[in-house]
């Protein structure tokens, strides 16, 4: 059916043969040139990424408040103890994990469906791909505003009227979560779909055809052939989205009416409040570093759980 459908990117691009133990002069020169070409980018990366991260770690070990520059003082891990012994950190962490888990799960399912549609689309493929990407192209703040204005009873949104709410859904924590998760899903499913689409392209059609000849149903082919072969792509998509979702800020901040909303506050919002509103650089940096560590831990877990066996990589 689809022999002429997808460009076989995976099969066509084969890795350049590994240079053996013997490295030619030419290869060495090329390698040096490569480093020199990369050097400016590395310098910029160090300046704009590594420096702020290291500075944040340094600040997190100080009592540092922008308002009292004279009272800076080394306090070791006190800020971390303060944050980790605060119930606010743990409830906000729970909110963050809740939003992350639910929204990424929904995105994975919807993204897979969308990817399959894009993969199999016979006509209008370009149109389908482009139109599905529109939400991803919209600035998150704008998207969050659109969802808030649609759902807000106080701001005359249409959704409460259509669904017949007697109260304002955005005053109810349950509905706040629904709206935040909807915003996230709506916005980032296309990204998930694109990553999965790249994975789908790696699945050789011959395998599917062979399985079909052997009498496998579409459902069996999907679970026994497509999914295992796509495993690396799924891992990458899940990893990217989870790390991204864990740092959720914009939509929660906007749907909380740019204010504090303790029912749905996430760790990033907490860090923002502590850093930019309270100007407490030490405590705020400790929150930021902890968010960073959480993200690292998540990435590590993902790679350990999903990344050990990579049947797709063998092909």
């Amino acid at each position: 059916v689809s022999t002429n459908a997808p460009p076989q990117t995976g099969a066509a691009v084969t890795a350049p043969p590994r240079g053996g133990p013997r490295i030619t002069e030419r290869a060495r020169a090329e390698r040096r040139l490569g480093w020199m070409l990369c050097a400016p980018a590395i310098v910029v990366m160090v300046a704009v990424t590594a420096y702020p991260i290291l500075y944040a770690i340094y600040l997190s070990l100080l009592r540092a408040d922008l308002r009292f520059p004279g009272q800076r003082q080394w306090i070791g891990l006190d800020n971390y103890i303060t944050v980790l012994s605060s119930s606010l950190w743990w409830t906000d962490l729970w909110h963050t994990l809740l939003i992350t888990a639910i929204s990424v799960s929904i995105e994975l399912v919807l993204g897979m469906l969308l990817a399959l549609v894009m993969h199999r689309a016979i006509f209008g493929r370009g149109l389908v791909r482009t139109s599905s990407l529109i939400p991803y192209g919209i600035v998150t703040v704008v998207a969050a505003f659109a969802w808030r204005l649609a759902w807000s009873g106080a701001e005359g949104g249409f959704v409460p009227k259509v669904l017949g709410f007697s109260t304002d859904p955005l005053t109810d924590p349950f509905w706040q979560y629904v709206v935040v998760i909807l915003t996230e899903v709506w916005k980032t499913t296309p990204f998930m779909a694109l990553l999965l689409l790249a994975g789908l392209a790696l699945v050789p059609d011959e395998l599917n055809e062979a399985a079909k000849v052997d009498g496998a149903t579409a459902w069996q082919r999907f679970w026994r052939i497509t999914v295992p072969l796509m495993r690396p792509a799924i891992l990458v998509a899940l990893l990217f989205r989870t790390l991204d979702a864990f740092r959720i800020f914009d939509s929660v901040y906007i749907i909380s009416n740019n204010g504090v909303n303790r029912d749905i506050e996430t760790v990033s919002v907490l860090g923002y409040q502590t850093l930019l509103n309270r100007l407490n650089l030490g405590l705020g940096s400790a929150v930021s570093v902890l968010v960073f560590l959480c993200v690292m831990a998540l990435a590590f877990l993902f790679i350990r759980l999903l990344g050990t066996r990579q049947p797709g990589a063998a092909s």
Binding site: R67, D168, G259, R262, N277
Partner: protein, 415 residues
């Protein structure tokens, strides 16, 4: 390949342009003063800058740098620069609640005593107090603001005088009896709480670093907030409402009462002329019959940046930017109440600005919010405790509030 040569040339052009820009001022003796201010929607701040530039006859030129729309954004933009000792902030519009913080950090210059005397002369006492920290004047009050009780004349014959009367009257109205008031977890809720505590005879702080929060007034205040939130007159969106959502609901005819700033009046004229014709106003409610109503006070004071290279010109420009003519502009164009006694005394102004008399009275003895360098933390501690008002537990709120405000003053823990 052939275009390679154009890059160094382009870079040179940019560098020269940047250097020229940094020179500033120029040789003519005119000093450029950067004024960072709220981008007042009617443009009256911008016009004042142009007017003062013209009136200085070449002594200085005021460059207007607009700041964000809400007070938090404005503060963030300024603080980021000031903490880095940015000399390009010559003048700024300061929300009344920043005085202590900016003064303590050295981000704003205190006014020389001779000029301070001129500023105090003829200025209402409420606004002067908001610009004063530990006996020194740190900014010149340019406009003030206060909340009134707005009501629908077609629904309410006699405006209520106390909070209890207000809630009871509204709850008894057959329909559209809602009270629009700010209830979201943000500064607006602290404003409300502060006025209630002060009207009940208490204060939040006793000096910049001590919690006051006397038990009687505190529980009176939280009791009123809780009563309103649980009454039939509460807006179902109370826990997410800020000033503008209140304005909108009232304008759409969903409410009989509104506690808000005067900007809602010109807005209703545009938004819903039918409602506009029915708008009446009364003083901010008091806690007890015949007792004081410590109405909220807001507004902007002009401060001179702590690291400016041109303090003399900046003080002169600040004086000009708050003169009578400019304050009239702020009031008539932007609806912002003046701080000068003389303007309120002018019969012509009273005719143009119909609520002048009530506002003038409220600004003499308003409920000034706590003066502490840690104001942002104190306010956060308060509004996260008493919002949503429907969740207030009268049994525990007093202890919780005291503990959290104390933590805020000690910079202790997450809030």
């Amino acid at each position: 390949m052939g275009r390679r040569g154009s890059w160094p040339a382009a870079a040179l052009v940019v560098a020269v342009a940047l250097l020229a820009g940094c020179g500033g001022g120029g040789g003519s003796g005119t000093v450029t003063l950067n004024w960072w201010a709220y981008n007042e929607p009617s443009g009256s701040f911008r016009e004042a800058a142009d007017r003062c530039t013209a009136q200085s006859h070449g002594r200085y030129k005021i460059a207007f740098n607009p700041l964000g729309n809400n007070a938090d954004e404005q503060r963030q933009s300024l603080v980021r620069r000031l903490a880095a000792k940015d000399a390009s902030i010559d003048l700024m519009s300061m929300d009344v609640i920043w005085t202590a913080e900016f003064a303590e950090a050295g981000w704003v210059k205190p006014w020389p005593e001779s000029l301070a005397r001129q500023v105090r002369q003829g200025t209402l006492s409420g606004p002067v107090e908001t610009a004063t920290y530990q006996g020194r004047l740190y900014a010149a009050p340019a406009n003030s603001n206060t909340q009134l009780l707005w009501y629908r004349k077609d629904l309410v014959k006699q405006p209520p005088k106390t909070w209890d009367e207000l809630i009871d009257t509204a709850a008894k109205l057959p329909k559209a009896g809602r009270i629009e008031i700010q209830g979201a977890a943000y500064e607006g809720t602290t404003v409300w709480f502060n006025s209630l505590v002060e009207s009940a005879g208490g204060t939040i702080l006793d000096g910049p670093d001590r919690v006051a929060l006397q038990q009687g007034p505190t529980l009176k205040a939280t009791g009123i907030m809780s009563k309103l939130a649980h009454s039939k007159a509460a807006d179902p969106s109370l826990s997410t409402q800020k000033e503008d959502q209140n304005r909108l609901a009232f304008e759409q005819g969903d409410a009989a009462f509104q506690i808000n700033y005067p900007f809602i009046y010109p807005s209703a004229k545009e938004g819903n002329p039918a409602v506009y014709k029915q708008i009446g106003w009364a003083p901010y409610p008091s806690v007890t019959a015949g007792g004081p109503n410590k109405a909220p006070i807001g507004g902007f004071n002009w401060g001179v940046g702590g690291y400016t290279a041109h303090p003399a010109e900046a003080f002169a420009a600040a004086m000009c930017l708050r003169d009578e003519e400019n304050q009239r502009g702020f009031a008539l164009k932007g609806g912002l109440p003046p701080t000068l006694q003389s303007i309120y005394d002018d019969p012509k102004f009273q005719a143009q600005y119909p609520f002048a008399k009530v506002i003038r009275q409220q600004l003499d003895a308003p409920g000034v919010r706590p003066k502490t360098p840690l104001y942002a933390d104190v306010s956060l501690a308060i509004y996260t405790t008493v919002s949503p008002a429907s969740g207030i537990d009268q049994g525990s709120v007093y202890g919780t509030l005291r503990g959290r405000v104390q933590d805020a003053l000690d910079s202790k823990g997450l809030l």
